[in-house]
């Protein structure tokens, strides 16, 4: 089959969860199909500035059609966002949203209009940006929407009302995303596939890495160190855990975007490389992922690959759902963080083993390829 993947950014040095998923999907599908990518010339999602040359490019052996960003994120986007999400406003205000948010790439839409029907299936990544919100309605009869939707206010805006009724199939990252979308849009009749992700086996790690930390339990956090990711909440809970007599070390690995306490039991590592990441995951007795918004929680899967159990807040339906399905950890709420951590430390080997087995089954390339194949089968005309 001929398959087109549409995504707002695409490139070897493009970071982002849905962009990464798009690239993985394109590469995996290309083992059995002819896959091309349609995207913009942008590299970053904050300005959408033209970075790559427009025209035809190649990445991982696949043809990438890049279309210029005619308008990036508008300078007053924050105002537009506040206005349409929090204040009384008009339909016309909501219809401004896509353009103000960017990337506005009319040539990409005209490409779909002229050439979209040459593909058997078109996979659209991320509901929120114009390439999908305005592009999918051009070829709905062969479209799959990989929405990567969160429970966020933008999901209620006018440009998305029809979008979620039109695709021939949905690819969701988790069952929780499916439940959210079906609850919001009453579109349970549209067939779907829960995609999850496929992963390479974990690389070998440095056994000596553990000795960098004090004896006693080692609890790791991996990701951006910021309030947005819930690290402030994690630190408050860690403090309470220690005050109640808990012991151990909390290691924070990732770009630091907030003030961190100076104390012996909290080690701030800053950004770590891949080797250090895997060594830290393997050395840790538990991984905590405190964020409330997470579309997949890939770091949980990585922890399970090396047999490390995890702790997640029960308020995050996605990560709590992953933990419930795998049995690879515990979800905490309110004041139960200390008890939850104690439970994980007490039964860590068994939980880690369950997590490892679950990832081996669910996130193998074979299983992921099968799910992608089913999605394409549902979407293709």
């Amino acid at each position: 089959m001929r398959i087109l993947v549409v995504v707002q950014r695409y490139g070897a040095d493009v970071t982002g969860g849905s962009e990464g998923h798009a690239r993985t999907t394109a590469v995996r599908l290309s083992r059995r199909h002819t896959v091309e990518v349609a995207t913009t010339t942008a590299q970053d999602y904050w300005t959408w500035a033209n970075h790559y040359p427009s025209g035809d490019d190649t990445l991982d052996g696949l043809a990438v059609h890049r279309f210029p960003v005619a308008a990036g994120r508008r300078e007053d986007f924050k105002d537009v966002e506040r206005h349409v999400l929090m204040e009384p406003h008009t339909l016309a205000d909501e219809q401004e949203w896509l353009r103000a948010q960017g990337p506005h790439a009319p040539a990409l839409l005209d490409f779909l209009h002229e050439r979209g029907r040459e593909y058997d299936a078109v996979l659209f990544y991320t509901y929120i940006y114009e390439p999908t919100a305005a592009g999918l309605p051009i070829v709905p009869e062969r479209a799959a929407l990989i929405s990567t939707a969160h429970d966020e206010a933008a999901l209620g805006l006018a440009p998305y009302r029809a979008l979620f009724q039109m695709p021939r199939a949905f690819g969701f990252l988790t069952p929780e995303e499916r439940d959210l979308v079906q609850r919001r849009f009453h579109n349970g009749h549209i067939p779907h596939e829960i995609l999850g992700i496929g992963m390479d086996p974990a690389p070998d790690h440095d056994e000596a890495y553990r000795s960098r930390f004090a004896d006693g339990p080692l609890v790791a956090y991996l990701g951006q160190v910021s309030e947005g990711k819930g690290v402030d909440d994690l630190l408050a809970r860690w403090d309470a855990y220690r005050a109640n007599g808990g012991c151990g070390t909390l290691a924070l690995a990732g770009t630091v975007r907030m003030p961190t306490p100076a104390r012996d039991d909290v080690v701030v590592l800053g950004r770590v490389n891949e080797a250090e990441k895997w060594s830290l995951l393997a050395s840790a007795d538990a991984l905590v992922l405190p964020s409330r918004f997470e579309s997949l929680g890939i770091v949980l899967l990585e922890a399970w690959q090396v047999g490390t159990p995890v702790l997640v807040p029960s308020a995050n339906a996605v990560t709590a759902g992953q933990v419930a399905r795998s049995g690879g950890g515990v979800a905490y709420d309110g004041e139960s963080f200390g008890d939850a951590l104690a439970a994980v430390l007490a039964d860590g080997d068994a939980m880690g083993a369950r997590g490892r087995a679950w990832v081996r089954d669910e996130c193998s390339w074979h299983a992921f390829d099968d799910r992608l194949e089913r999605l394409v089968g549902l979407a293709a005309v």
């Binding site: 008009t90 339909l91 016309a92 909501e94 009319p106 839409l109 005209d110 209009h113 309605p137 051009i138 070829v139 709905p140 009869e141 062969r142 006018a158 009302r161 029809a162 009724q165 039109m166 021939r168 849009f185 009453h186 579109n187 349970g188 009749h189 549209i190 005309v381």
Partner: protein, 412 residues
Amino acid sequence: MSKPKTLVVVQRYGDGVAGGAEAHARQLVNRLKPHLDIEVLTTAASDYRTWENTFTAGIDWVDDVPVRRFPVLRQRAWDFKLYERRAFAPLHTLEDERTFVDAQGPYAPDLLEHLWRAGHDADHVLFFTYIYYPTVRGLPLVPERAVLVPTAHDEPALGLSIYEPVFHAPRAIAFNTEEERALVHARFRNERVPNDILGVGVEVPDDRSADRFRARFGVDGPFVLYIGRIVESKGCRELFAYWQRWRTAEPDRRIALVLAGQAEMAIPKRPDIVHLGIVSEQEKYDALEASVALVVPEVLSSMSMVTLEAWACGRPVICDAASPVVWGMARRARGGLAFRDAAELGEIVGLLADDPGAARRLGEAGRAFVARTYTWPRIVGTYLDMFAEVRARNGESRLGLRTMRERAAASV
């Protein structure tokens, strides 16, 4: 129990509004109003060529139904045809299509604003005709409760990308005919959207008199009847050409072509072509009663009301074999014959005139077809089922979900 709230969106509505789809909307509203709490959302325009605001914007009442009229902010662009040509050209952009839809009108953004705010209070929103601005821009605002009556036929606009959401996003589609459904499914591949054949009910009076017609108009002898505007777009040019060619080849036969309707083109002046002008409803049915058959030369249509009325009167139809809808219906109904050229038109007219038994058999088959498909009790019942399914889906009823799935599966 309160009745389900229903919004009906249509480009024009009310007295003095001519047009098949608009008349269809009003008839249906009047049939559905005992069962639903209906409000019509429309424009202040009555003429589709100008969209001039001839009605007063605001709340109006038509047949005891509230009608909310919104002003048309731009009259149809004088250079509309230019935008149309650009959008229909093989190489055109999406911007050309958007410009075409705005220029075609009726451009009434306040209607959209209202639909966006109030649409969620309605249980269902019924959209009439796929092609105009209120549906193109309005349906995507309430897709989960939208039911579309597309009245589509094979025309260039149907090929535009801008209409994809109109056909893929609604919760259900009410087609007028099997042929319209086949056309839309072939074009859009939207078989998954639940749908049914609805159309309008056909009711003809029992009191129909051939004698009254002949006395009133002084027509004697056998004749075939044409009803409607006498205009090239309805196939009248071909009809006249074929008729004359055949009569030249077969001058002795005594039969006439009778035309009922307003003439918008020259009618050949000959003794065997009789123009009645505009006739009343009663005169129309009397004329059908007196006729050998109804001739329907129109090739492009989503529905032919006069065909259904002829059948309801037990008369056969003679149609153009190139018409997907009329000939498709006639074939399924076994209620008529189709011609491809002048000789075939003559053959068919001669056959039906000479063999009243054959004409009667075809006419009766047509009557049975109309009774099966195009009666108000069936149509109203089917609409109410469709609406109940829309409500069930949006209320997450398991029963509703199952029914919708079965319907969707059955229609693929």
